[in-house]
């Protein structure tokens, strides 16, 4: 049974909420607001009773897969377990019922958390300062590029180009372009790392930065990183790290030791905060001292009297969002880091990498592994071979839904045809991984014996494969009442 839209459950005179009567002397509307500014006609919102609202959204939730219900090996997203105690803590009224313009003296708790997160993230990355302001990874990238741009403007160096590997996440070129840079693509070599010759050829005094993801989107560590760093730094450029794949490196390497000058973190990936069905996340950015002056305002500082906001930073790029950061998300990540502590972080990466290699080792017997070498926390398979049976990665993904798994990331990175990017994370048990392997083996068999099972999947959900062409052509993007006569 499909759940109707909330509008379709509307009946006049139903109400979902009770509000108190007005307890002050009321004035007539027209006296307070000029008639031309008063809304005429209805708001267009539904009339639904409270039990109906509850049943509606509860039923909707039951049509949704989450980490709490399903294995979710989305490569590049790090869908790890979201600790419940962090939800409880972030929900304390002492954190949620705080107005952003309350005096600093009475918000010392949250200011301390922001300050300590800065220090904790610096310790694990080797950066000198971290800003907790950006609302997401892409926002952190954009802010970082703005800072790099401001740095070169101060130095009167004209650098208008950003280098980006062909395996990069789409936010990298999008953020660069939004910041006014032109982007030049750097090729990957046959081992999946940066093609050094290509890099040397493209590096120049016009290049402001090279944006790297380490490990890269193939799940492979950049072996030549020191050489890459030298090529960039010798000609005055910055090395930027997209920290989406940090789950492989905690306690193992420090980005600063790899030559990284500036980077962003994804709290909703590595640091266990929930993905929220698409957000909110948080994308703090870290810098070496060289760039610290350009950080967005305000930063959080500490003196004898306590924690305070510093709004007075002459070379700051300014503000990149209202208020101070996605505080609720920052608090959850802070809880995670405090819970794991120095002993726990390294084990996260060790087990994330172990789980990925285990899956890879089993699956490569059945599916083509274009880069056949030990991986880090994720790996990429290709369903190229299956194209012969007219089965595509998309079909494999849809069939996996029938087995109760959320599919891995598909068609990314772009340099692998029919890509299937798999990141199990460290919070999955061996039994789950084995189940996933069995399902993939079963699917391989189906490809050989009865490909229509895949091409018409999913079969077992409350909905079949959706027509995305129809969605793009008809563009029905909101509910509208049926006109009379329809």
């Amino acid at each position: 049974m499909r759940e109707p839209l909330i509008f379709e459950k509307s009946r006049p005179e139903r109400k979902g909420c009770s509000l108190p009567e007005c307890d002050v002397d009321q004035e007539s509307l027209e006296k307070l607001i000029p008639k031309k500014y008063l809304r005429q006609g209805t708001l267009g919102l539904p009339h639904v009773s409270e039990p109906d609202v509850v049943r509606h959204f509860t039923r909707l939730s039951q049509q949704n897969m989450g980490v709490d219900t399903n294995f979710y090996p989305l490569g590049s997203c790090t869908m790890k377990y979201n600790p419940k105690v962090n939800e409880d803590i972030a929900n304390l009224p002492g954190f949620t019922r705080v107005h952003p313009y309350q005096a600093e003296a009475v918000v010392q708790g949250t200011l301390q958390i922001i300050y300590e997160m800065d220090k904790l993230l610096c310790e694990l990355s080797g950066m000198d300062r971290v800003s907790l302001q950006p609302a997401a990874g892409a926002h952190g990238e954009l802010t970082s590029l703005m800072m790099i741009k401001a740095y070169y403007e101060d130095k009167k160096e004209e650098r208008d180009t950003v280098l980006i590997p062909d395996s990069a996440h789409g936010t990298n070129p999008a953020s660069s372009h939004l910041c006014g840079f032109r982007t030049v693509v750097v090729k990957s070599n046959k081992d999946g790392g940066i093609d050094l010759e290509d890099l040397k050829g493209k590096m120049s005094e016009r290049v402001a930065a090279l944006m790297l993801t380490i490990p890269n989107t193939l799940g492979l560590f950049e072996r030549n990183i020191l050489e890459v760093s030298r090529i960039i730094h010798d000609r005055g450029g910055f090395l930027y790290l997209d920290g989406a794949n940090l789950n492989a490196l905690l306690g193992i390497v420090k980005p600063s030791d790899l030559g990284i000058d500036i980077m962003h973190f994804n709290l909703h990936k590595t640091f266990s905060t929930p993905h929220g069905g698409g957000g909110p996340g948080s994308g703090p950015l870290g810098v070496k001292e060289k760039l610290a002056a350009y950080l967005p305002v305000p930063t959080v500082e500490k003196d004898k009297k306590g924690y305070y906001f510093d709004h007075d930073r002459a070379r700051s790029i300014g503000k990149v969002r209202s208020f101070y950061g996605n505080i609720e998300v920052i608090i959850k990540a802070y809880c995670y880091l405090r819970f794991l502590g120095r002993e726990g972080l390294k084990k996260v990466s060790q087990n994330a990498v172990l789980n990925a290699n285990y899956l890879m080792s089993k699956l490569k017997r059945y599916f083509y592994l274009p880069y056949d070498q030990p991986c880090m926390h994720e790996f990429v398979l290709s369903a190229e071979d299956q194209k012969m049976k007219d089965v595509r990665t998309l079909d494999i993904a849809k069939r996996l839904l029938d087995f109760g798994f959320h599919p891995p990331t598909i068609y990314f990175p772009l340099i692998v045809k029919e890509a299937l990017m798999i990141e199990p994370t460290e919070t999955e048990s061996k039994e789950t991984l084995d189940e996933f392997v069995s399902s993939m083996i079963q699917i391989k068999k189906e490809i050989e014996e009865d490909p229509s099972l895949l091409k018409e999947a999913p079969h077992n959900l409350s909905i079949g494969r959706l027509d995305e062409v129809k969605a793009a052509k008809e563009l029905k993007l909101r509910w509208e009442e049926k006109k009379s006569g329809d």
């Binding site: 068609y411 995305e468 062409v469 969605a471 793009a472 052509k473």
Partner: protein, 128 residues
Amino acid sequence: MEPKDLKYTETHEWVKVDKDIATVGITDFATKQLTDLVYVELPSVGAKVTKGSSLGVVESVKAVSDLYSPVSGKVVKVNEKLSKEPEIITQDPYGEGWMIKVKMEDQTELDTLMDSEEYEELVKKEKE
């Protein structure tokens, strides 16, 4: 087999020349790459186009491709049918799927375009 009377670009557009009017569309290979087309954005009549510059986009569910003009000149006609039925491009890329007609400024620009044999070679290479 690509129509022999047409000229082709590296970016998979075709051109049919009739005196000083160039009709432009995209090739069969291009439509196969894009799969289901949902939208086409073309310039208006009267707009100026430049050889090598983007004149619009063609959109499928999973990709957007820029259309590059093979010639410079002024757009004199646009295939209005395509806005409602972009799938015509896939069905008949060299006929009903024509996109724009351009009054050419400089016919020598045609010399750098490929003929059908050269274009078939290019397609063969890309398929590898």
